[in-house]
Structures are given as C-alpha cells and as structure tokens.
C-alpha cells in the first residue's frame, strides 16, 4: 500500500501531538538530573536535586500516600455497598442518586472546596486536620469507585445469581460476601486503582482545603513551582511521575479488563 | 456476468490456511451457495470475491473477461449483504439504498427512479423515509438487499443473510429471498451453514470443509450422489452403517442386508427417512428414544449398528423405548462412500 497524502497528514498530526505531550515531560526529567539547567547538560548530571526534594518534601509524599490509602478505604466501604444497592434497585431514584454523587465530576473542585470551607471552616479541629482534606478526596473519587463497580454489577445477572444463592440458604450478608463482592472484583480493582491515582494527583480541592502544615504532593509541587529553582521543581515532578505512571498503567489495564468483562 | 475463481487460496498472517486453492465458476444469473460448517472457509472465499480480502499469490478472480484480482473493492462493483446487515444508522432507508448510486455520482433523477424501483421490488416503498433503526429484522434484511442491488452490481454476495433472524421468520423469508434473487437476475453467491437454506435458495450448492471445496452440484445431486462421507453427513445427515462387508451382503450387529450386485466399495450410509419399521424387515434393533417432531416420530434405535440409528416414522403410533423392532432398508437407499481425502467421516 502506497501511503496517501491524507495518511501522511494523519501520521504527522499524531507524531506532532505525541511530541507536544512528551517533550516537556522529558525536559522536566532531564532538568531534574542536570546540575545547572541554564548551562545545559554540559554542567553535568547529579542526584543532588532529588536529595533536596527528599529533604524538603518527603513529608508531603508520605502525606499523599497516607491520604490515598485512607481515601481508598473509605471509597471501598462507602462505594461498594452503594454500588450494589444501586444495581439491585435500578429505578429512577437510583439514577438520581447516582447523578447526584457524580456532581463532583462535573462541578469544579474549586466550587466544591468553597462549599466545604464555608460549612465546616469554622470547626477548627476538623478544619486543620488531615481528615478535612480526606473528605475532599473521598468526595471527588467516590463516583469513580461507584461507577466502576456498578458497571460490572449491571453487566451480570445479579438478581438471578443472588436468587440462586438464596435458594441454597444464603442470607443477604452472606450473599453479599460470597457472591456479590467476588463477582464485582474486576470493577473494584479498576475503581481502587482509579481512586488511588486520582487521590495522589488531586490539586484543585486540596489547594483550598490544605493548611501550611498539611501539604500533599501536588500542593508541594505548586509550592516548588512558585518558589524553588527549576531543577528542584523538575526533580520533584520526576518523583511524581515515578509514582503516578505505574499507577496509571495499572489503572488502564484494570479498567480495560473490567470493560471486557462487562461486554 | 460469469464469475470465475481460479486457484484462490488464503493464508492468514498467523499461518492458518483459511482457504486451500479453490477453483469454481458461477454462470450468468446463477445463484450459488457456499455451504459448510463454521471455519470451513466459505466466508473467506466470499470476502475474496468481494475484494475485502486479497487471495494468496497465484489466485485469480475474474468477472467475465475482466481480471479483478487486484481491483479494490470500491471499484469492483459488487453488491454485498452483510451478516449484521451493516445498515448506516445515520441514514434513512432511502438514504441507505441510494448510497451506492450517490457515491457513483448518478444523477438525482436517476437515483430517485432506481431507488423507487428497488424499494418496490423489495416491498419497502412504505418504509422509504423511516430511519433504519426502527425496522424489524426482516425489514432490515430487505433494506440490506435493496442497498446491495440498487447500483446494479456485477456480482451479488450474501453473507449468512438469514442468520440474524429468528427461526420462524427465517423460514418465511427464505422463499421470499429466493424469489427476489431470481427477480434481479444477478449472478449471486451466498454463504450459509444451513443446508435447508442452501438447497432451497441456490441453483447449485458448493459444500466446503476445512478450507476445501468438497463437492459442487445441484441440490438433488448432492443429496442423491454425495461424493464423500462428509457431504453425505452434512447434506441430509447420512449415518454410517458399521459392519462387515462381504460380497453381496453387509453383516451388521442387527442382521444382514443384501447388497445390489453393482454396489460400490466403501462405507455404507443410510438416511433416517429411508429406514422403515416393518415386521418383515431384515434388521432388528431396540428402541432407545422416541420423540415427536412435526408430523412424524423420530426413533433412536440401538443395536442395529455400532452407533444409534435415527429413523423417521410417519405412522400414527410409535413403539416405546425398550421395544424390539424390525427394520427394512431398501438396497437402493444405501450410499457407498470412500473417504478420498482422508478426512474423518
């Protein structure tokens, strides 16, 4: 097949787009290892900046990991049973409820943060604790968990499966544990990876909800972009990439797998 | 338009031989059916004729005198009815049927005239302006056919045109489709795995198995003179009679059959409709199963030969499981077949 002009044009668009996306990311990786970015690579490679990032921001990284784990716990506890209930009652009310909890996907994080601040901002114990940021993260990631699990549950004949278990003598809680959850696992896995990925990268809500003593990884990133030298900012970005990219790959793999199951 | 296929074969990138070298000719206006189980290469052959697949080097497809082997599908002027119908959901019935004329830049007036004509032939006039998404299965199938024939293709290709319909509809649409195809007088090739469909629609049937053409002929020929055990089994469900062959007779578990003097060598086969219950019959067997099917009983009989034999019994009363019965099989009704290409029968 001889490539036609339109084929070459499409190839060019695709390659240029990829270049636009990857070049600055590579720049930032490179800058994180370069002794002096302005003098270029000739200034030599170094791990010094990564060391400084560790000194300056290690607590932010650990806070983000801790928040992601807590966020995962709460989205599981709240989201999985809710998805099950929504799947068993596929009525109008369920649609409305699903739509409502999906609001944080549509309404900008800034608006949600303002809303939370105005209602709970005066409760200083809560306002200044990590739990306040956690609420924001759960709020934002919960719809992803519910939808991922719901999609898998709706794709199977949940009612018949449960009726089968019931005729064999299983009570509701037993059915939930032994039939519902095991069958929903692909969706739960996809949802869990999405929740962790999004929680670690969340900025819009967190920026408004955080306090100077509670900086998450992305808040620290914004901080470094504003006040640190370019090499440190780059090195910190590099740390972020190293954490987020494997999660993203795993998330896409799990989501594809869940989608194949639902088809 | 005569369709000539010479030595067409297809090997896929992963090394599977979907189609072994195959040659056949379809005469002008003839309707040929490619019949076989799934994976026999019939759809691959159809897609090679359409130009959706390219045959391996050495294969050749001719439409009349023109060699179209290297001609791109969109320039080949074939009509194709897809298994899923592949109707364009963003267009009305009329839009779908007119599409082939539109891309050929046929004048608007001519488009309207031809589309109206084809819609009438396919009993679709009343649906012309409906979206295709609201049509029933049978209507969709007619739209797909109308769309394929509107540009007056040189060859019409149909890929399992009835398989997307439910059983009841399939039966009634089969004869309708046969009548419509005859009306168009276009050389047509259609693929099916259903022997009844193949036999009732086609002028000739090509039976395929494992990428090879097994036999090609009129439906009656295939039924009466199958060339191989595979064809005998696939067309008319012939059953093997395992036993010991001696000059002039066949010794079975349940008795002896006298064979005609001119009986061919090979394995004996018989069909259910040729096994009769007869107290004077030469064979003896035991009824294993009895079921009632439209208008007749289906009897499963054991101990006549190694496998269970199925017999159709048109009588008003049937024997019961466990009964011992005597059976008659006319010597003329036996088929003697040798497995030439070493396939499992």
């Amino acid at each position: 097949m001889r490539p036609s002009p339109s084929w070459l044009l499409q190839l060019a668009v695709t390659l240029l787009t990829a270049a636009f996306l990857i070049i600055p990311a590579l720049q930032s990786i490179l800058a994180g290892f370069t002794s002096n970015y302005f003098r270029g690579l000739s200034s030599g490679l170094t791990l010094k900046w990564l060391g400084e990032v560790w000194d300056l921001y290690a607590h932010s990284i650990f806070l983000s990991l801790w928040l992601a784990a807590a966020c995962l716990f709460f989205t599981l506890v709240i989201g999985v049973p809710a998805a099950y209930a929504l799947a068993r009652n596929p009525g109008r009310l369920s649609r409305v409820l699903e739509e409502f909890i999906s609001l944080p996907l549509a309404v900008p994080g800034l608006a949600l943060a303002l809303a939370l601040l105005q209602l709970y901002g005066s409760m200083s114990g809560f306002r200044t604790s990590w739990a306040f940021i956690l609420v924001g993260h759960v709020l934002y990631t919960l719809p992803f968990m519910v939808r991922a699990v719901l999609a898998v549950l709706l794709a199977m004949d949940l009612k018949t499966l449960e009726e089968g278990a019931a005729t064999l003598g299983a009570a509701p809680w037993t059915r939930f544990r032994t039939v519902v959850v095991p069958n929903a696992l692909p969706g739960i896995l996809a949802g869990a990876l999405t929740v962790v990925t999004l929680s670690i990268g969340e900025f819009n809500l967190t920026w408004m909800l955080h306090t100077p003593y509670l900086k998450t990884l992305p808040v620290g990133l914004a901080d470094s972009y504003a006040s640190m030298r370019l090499e440190i900012a780059s090195a910190y970005t590099l740390v972020f990439f190293v954490m987020i990219v494997p999660l993203l790959v795993a998330m896409q793999w799990a989501s594809d797998r869940a989608r194949r199951i639902t088809q | 338009m005569t369709l000539i296929i010479k030595n067409a074969s297809k090997t896929f990138a992963d090394g599977t031989h979907a189609l072994r070298p195959t040659s056949l000719t379809v005469g002008p206006g003839e309707i040929l059916s490619l019949l076989g189980p799934s994976g026999c290469g019939k759809t691959t052959l159809l897609r090679i004729i359409a130009g959706l697949e390219r045959p391996d080097p050495g294969g050749e497809i001719r439409f009349g005198n023109e060699d179209v082997t290297r001609l791109a599908v969109e320039r080949r002027n074939v009509g194709m009815v897809f298994q899923s119908y592949a109707l364009f959901p963003n267009m009305s019935v009329r839009g779908n049927v007119a599409y082939g004329l539109k891309v050929r830049k046929v004048s608007k007036a001519e488009q309207t005239r031809r589309v109206d004509e084809v819609l009438a032939l396919c009993h679709l006039t009343d649906y012309a302006n409906r979206p295709v998404t609201v049509l029933s299965g049978g209507q969709r199938q007619r739209v797909a056919l109308a769309r394929a024939v509107a540009p007056r293709p040189r060859i019409l290709l149909l890929d399992e045109p009835l398989s997307a319909l439910d059983a009841a509809l399939r039966d009634s649409l089969r004869d309708e489709l046969a009548a419509m195809l005859r009306q168009f007088q276009i050389t047509a090739v259609f693929v099916t795995h259903d022997q009844v469909e193949a036999m009732s629609i086609a002028d000739r049937v090509a039976v395929m198995s494992k990428g090879t053409l097994q036999q090609i002929g009129k439906p009656e020929e295939l039924y009466r003179n199958p060339a191989s055990p595979f064809v005998a089994r696939f067309v008319g469900n012939a059953m093997p009679m395992m036993g010991q062959r001696e000059p002039g007779r066949l010794i079975l578990k349940g008795g002896e059959l006298t064979l005609p003097n001119d009986a061919q060598p090979g394995q004996a086969f018989v069909r259910a409709e040729n096994i009769h219950l007869d107290p004077e019959g030469a064979l003896r067997g035991t009824i294993e199963t009895v079921s009632f099917s439209v208008g007749h009983y289906r009897l499963g009989i054991r101990d006549v030969t190694d496998d269970i034999l199925i017999a159709t019994h048109p009588g008003r009363q049937a024997p019961r499981p466990g009964d011992t019965v005597r059976l008659r099989i006319a010597a003329d009704d036996l088929l003697f077949l040798v497995d030439k290409n070493g396939q499992t029968t």
Binding site: Y84, V107, L110, L119, Y140, T206, L247 | A50, A86
Partner: protein, 267 residues
C-alpha cells in the same frame, strides 16, 4: 424483607456521606452567595459588572477553542491509531495517554518548560518566544490536559463501530474520504459530542494550570480564587462558583445523554 433492609443498609454510608459533605455544603454555598448586601441581586450584579462578564466570555472562548482543537487533533490521531497497526504504535499510544493522570499544576509547569522565560522555545529562539504566561500558554495547558481524554473516547468509540459498516460502504463504491464523512464520523458523533463537552467543562473549571502559570489572565476559576482569598468577597466568590458549577454540570448532563461512557477526568 431481610433483603430490602440489607439493601437500605448498604446505601446508608453513601447517604450520610453525601448529605454531610455534598448536599449540605452546596446548600451552604448558595446560601453564602446571597448573604451579601444585595441578596439574590448578586447574580444580577455578575451580569452588570464588566469585569465578570469579560471573564466569563474569555473563559467560554478559551474553553471553546480548547474543545475544538482537542477534538480535531484527537479525532485525527485517535482514528489513525485505531485504524493503522505499525511498529511503535503501542509506544505512541502510551505517550498520548500518559498525561491522563497529570494534574493541572504539573501541566502548567510543563508548559512553562516549553514556553516560559527559560523554556525550550526561548532557548532555541532566544528573546522572543515566551508564551507560557499568556492566553496561549493557558490554551496549550488545557489542550495538553484534554487531548488524552478525547483521544481515548474516540478510540473506544472507533473500536465499537461495526467494521462491516465500512466494508459495506466500500462494496458500494465509497472512497476512503467518503467513508470517513459518511460512515465513521456519524458513527462517532455521539462520543465526539460527549468528549467535546467534557473538554469544554474541564477547561471552564480548570484551576491548577492557570494557578501555576500565575497569569494575569482573568479566567473564571482564577477570579473566584482571588475574590475569595485576596478580596475576601465571599458572597461573590460563592455566587461565581454557583454559576460555574451549574454551567459545567448542565453541560455534562446534556452531553451524557448522548453517550453513557466518559473517560475519567482528573485533578
């Protein structure tokens, strides 16, 4: 009726959480917006204040431009990748979807690396090419954010298109250009509308990118942020948030009626 009770119990944590942290705060947000001296008149005030209106217009225009550009680029690249298989395709696809998990702040930084004072372009062509802190920078940042999302939506939709449709068009004599305009784009239309709407809504509400670029460009989220933190004009910040939230939510609701699936947004 043990089953009904059990199902209700399953819904309870969700109900409590979303009542406490979603429903009540949103009510409070609307309440706070009308606590100023003008009461509900504050919404009228938005329409009468030149600065807010200009911000609104500017935000809508940037978002529209981003959606259009992201749709054009991602549809081209997405269809190309969905329909062609060649060595390196997998790597290309990974590069194009990698930024899915990058928050707006990081993307802002990446744009600075490209077009900032010390950016790549300014190093290659010194002195003239600083675009990161302008509307162009913002546009590129939002585009960076949207391309992977639209691309994945387009590719998922392209995979679902029945290949027989394209084959049918070919047997009827259609050229490849006609196949794209007559069969593929109409088939993708619902997904394209949905993806465009998501790109638009995310651009409307994006905060991190604008924040990192630290521009003087008035886009709605930045104005809300400054009203809240610098001017302490809580009522106006709340009112603008309500307007922004309602607009993006309504838009996505309409878009979602075209297609059920949407690709995960992200911080």
């Amino acid at each position: 009726m043990a089953h009904r009770i059990f199902v209700s119990v399953c819904l309870l944590p969700l109900a409590v959480f979303s009542l406490a942290f979603l429903a009540l705060p949103l009510v409070r947000l609307v309440g706070a917006s009308v606590e100023g001296p003008d009461g509900w008149g504050i919404y009228l005030q938005i329409l009468q204040t030149r600065r807010y209106l200009q911000t609104l217009l500017q935000t809508v225009l940037v978002s529209l431009a981003v959606s259009a550009a992201a749709l054009a680029i991602s549809t081209t690249a997405g269809l190309f990748l969905a329909r062609n298989h060649f060595p390196g395709r997998g790597a290309l696809l990974s590069i194009l979807t990698l930024p899915l998990a990058f928050p707006g702040v990081v993307i802002g930084f990446l744009i600075i690396l490209l077009g900032g004072r010390q950016g790549l372009f300014n190093q290659l062509l010194p002195g003239h090419v600083v675009f990161a802190y302008s509307l162009t920078g913002l546009f590129l940042g939002y585009l960076y954010f949207s391309i992977p999302r639209v691309l994945l939506t387009v590719m998922a939709a392209a995979e679902k298109l029945d290949p027989a449709l394209e084959e049918a068009a070919r047997t009827l004599g259609a050229s490849s250009v006609r196949i794209v305009t007559d069969v593929i784009l109409p088939g993708l239309a619902p997904s394209l509308i949905a993806a465009g709407a998501i790109a638009f809504a995310t651009a409307m509400g994006a905060f991190g990118t604008a924040f990192t670029l630290a521009t003087d460009i008035d886009v709605l989220p930045m104005v809300i942020y400054t009203e809240f933190t610098l001017s302490a004009n809580i009522a106006m910040a709340s009112a603008l948030s309500v307007v922004l939230g309602l607009a993006t939510w309504a838009l996505l609701l309409v878009a979602r009626s075209f297609t059920g699936t949407t690709v995960a947004a992200g911080g």
